[in-house]
């Protein structure tokens, strides 16, 4: 019987807070600290940045996170992250350089996991999920293609002696499953065995969302001390018993209710949650509160594993222009509606364009529920305009029209804000497993 293994969720997304990781490293008695830093779009954006001089293909913030945690990180705690994004090897080199000079990092071994990038071998006749299109239909707009890879290559890196593992598009849950499977000597090819660590990864991958973050409602759902929210720790025994907890005296809440929100909120089919290592049947999961902020998880089931891997393909998607102007006090709603009508008319008459391409919203009234027309008189309303277009001139024209509402529009408009940005969309495809060859490289 192997000893219990404790994994901490250091971040739940690229922009997450810094100190929860430090608290875990210092007081969490953890064996592995896992930084989930990669959203679907991040790799496409990173690929676009790669063409820019001085820009890098990875998440540079991770280096600052590492600096921040190193003074309290136990030498025996492994670190894993997908912050490698479009260029895991380059981040691994940068990390190795950082560690070389650090007195608390002596003996650390860094590895990079690659092979998720399939841009050069994705067949152009690959169908795009949810559409009638193929990848070829997007022509030169395709900027990245990355398959969600399983835990295998990261486990291999850990077995080879690495204790800092940098990946790109590894499945979020797999990134957490890897150190658990490596510690217990579990076979990542065996879907039944991977059910437990993969479920643990699924629960931990959004960090504080498991321990009371994104839960409080100001009334019935009360969460103590969200300002000092403690991020989750999963303890996994050799017999696959899973206990979830957090560091004592941190803020937050860990209960059946916080766990079930995290378990199901992104799952369209709870009987078949597909990951690269296992298809999970989540219906049989039991969530038991065994103490204050301590929850036991049992009963997960594997339903085989998918034949095909999912891949995210980044597509250049033109410009998104947005602009808004605020109205308050007497007749705020009527004046905001007048602003929408003025720009709409000018879009047709002055610019000769179809105003149906504009998205119009009334923030503070119904922007989050545009189908609703509540019978209320809001104290303040923001008129918002948005346009998605391939024409840079049209994008600029819209934000100028919003600015011009200052002196040409309804009375009392203020606080104009505008933005034009280039966007990268993501489409999903399924690819055969043999198209994807994950591998690891130990750097030092």
């Amino acid at each position: 019987m192997t000893t219990p293994y404790r994994v901490g969720a250091a971040t739940g997304f690229a922009g997450d807070r810094f100190e929860p990781a430090r608290v875990l490293a210092e007081s969490g008695d953890i064996d592995a600290l896992v930084y989930e830093c990669l959203a679907e779009r991040t790799i496409g954006l990173a690929q676009q940045r790669r063409g820019v001089p001085g820009a890098v293909g990875y998440d540079e913030l991770f280096l600052h996170r590492l600096d921040d945690v190193l003074p309290v990180l136990r030498p025996e705690t492994a670190v894993l992250t997908n912050a490698g994004a479009a260029d895991p090897t380059a981040l691994a080199r940068a990390v190795a350089e950082r560690l070389d000079g650090h007195p608390r990092a002596r003996g650390r071994v860094v590895a990079a996991v690659t092979g998720d990038d399939i841009l050069d071998r994705l067949p152009s006749d690959t169908p795009v999920l949810g559409t009638e299109l193929t990848i070829g239909d997007f022509g030169d707009r395709v900027v990245s293609a990355n398959a969600y890879i399983g835990a295998g290559a990261a486990v291999e890196a850990l077995h080879a002696g690495a204790d800092v593992v940098i990946t790109g598009r590894m499945g979020d849950a797999a990134l957490f499953a890897a150190p658990i499977a490596a510690h217990h000597g579990w076979d990542t090819e065996d879907a039944d065995v991977m059910a437990v660590p993969t479920l643990v990864g699924h629960l931990l991958e959004c960090g504080g969302q498991l321990t009371g973050g994104y839960f409080a409602d100001g009334g019935r759902k009360v969460v103590p001390h969200l300002a000092t929210l403690g991020f989750p720790i999963a303890e996994v025994d050799g017999d696959s018993t899973v206990t979830l907890g957090k560091v004592d005296d941190t803020g937050g809440l860990l209960t059946r209710a916080t766990v079930i929100e995290q378990l199901l909120y992104e799952i369209d089919d709870p009987s078949a949650y597909k990951t690269p290592d296992v298809t999970l049947d989540l219906r049989s999961v039991r969530i038991e509160e065994i103490g204050p902020d301590r929850v036991r998880i049992v009963g997960e089931r594997a339903a085989g594993k998918p034949d095909l891997l999912k891949a995210s393909v980044g597509i250049r998607d033109g410009y998104l222009a947005t602009g808004s102007i605020a109205y308050g006090g007497l007749g705020a709603l009527a004046r905001a509606e007048l602003a929408l009508a003025i720009v709409t008319e000018r879009w047709e008459v002055v610019h000769g364009r179809d105003s149906a391409e504009l998205r119009l919203d009334l923030l503070g009234y119904n922007a989050l529920q545009p189908w609703a027309r509540p019978d209320v008189e809001p104290a303040e309303v923001c008129a918002r305009f948005a346009l998605r277009t391939w024409e840079a001139d049209a994008a600029r024209a819209l934000v100028r029209e919003v600015e011009a509402l200052y002196t040409n529009g309804p009375a009392g408009g203020g606080g104009v804000q505008t933005a034009v940005r280039e966007t990268t969309g993501i489409v999903s495809v399924l690819v055969p497993r043999d198209l994807v060859q994950p591998r690891m490289e130990v750097l030092r």
């Binding site: 679907e40 779009r41 999920l129 949810g130 994104y214 839960f215 409602d217 019935r220 759902k221 209710a257 079930i260 929100e261 995290q262 378990l263 199901l264 909120y265 992104e266 799952i267 369209d268 089919d269 709870p270 989540l282 219906r283 049989s284 999961v285 969530i287 998607d317 998104l320 947005t322 998205r359 919203d361 923030l363 922007a367 989050l368 529920q369 545009p370 189908w371 609703a372 918002r384 948005a386 346009l387 998605r388 966007t423 990268t424 969309g425 993501i426 999903s428």
Partner: protein
Amino acid sequence: MIVLGDLAHARAGDKGDTSIIMVAPYAPEDFGRVAALLTPPAVASHLGVGADAVDVRAVVELGAFTVIVRGALDGGVTRSRGVDPHGKTLSSVLLRLAGAKP
């Protein structure tokens, strides 16, 4: 009248242009009352979409529901021109779904 939020809590996620909203009753014994409120036509009308865009899946073993709303996100998080591209706010919007007090 009763609203869904009197009986249940919710969190919204997204997958492409589809919103996935988990709904769980606070008390296990309210599962049936929540199920009675969460009919696809009622959800569709409340969220301003057609009835065929909504599926409600009861996860009986876990005492929860997943509500699937297709085409709800103006093209999804990478394409939406709206204020909330993920549709994160739809969870609390759904909790205002009203029904007759059973």
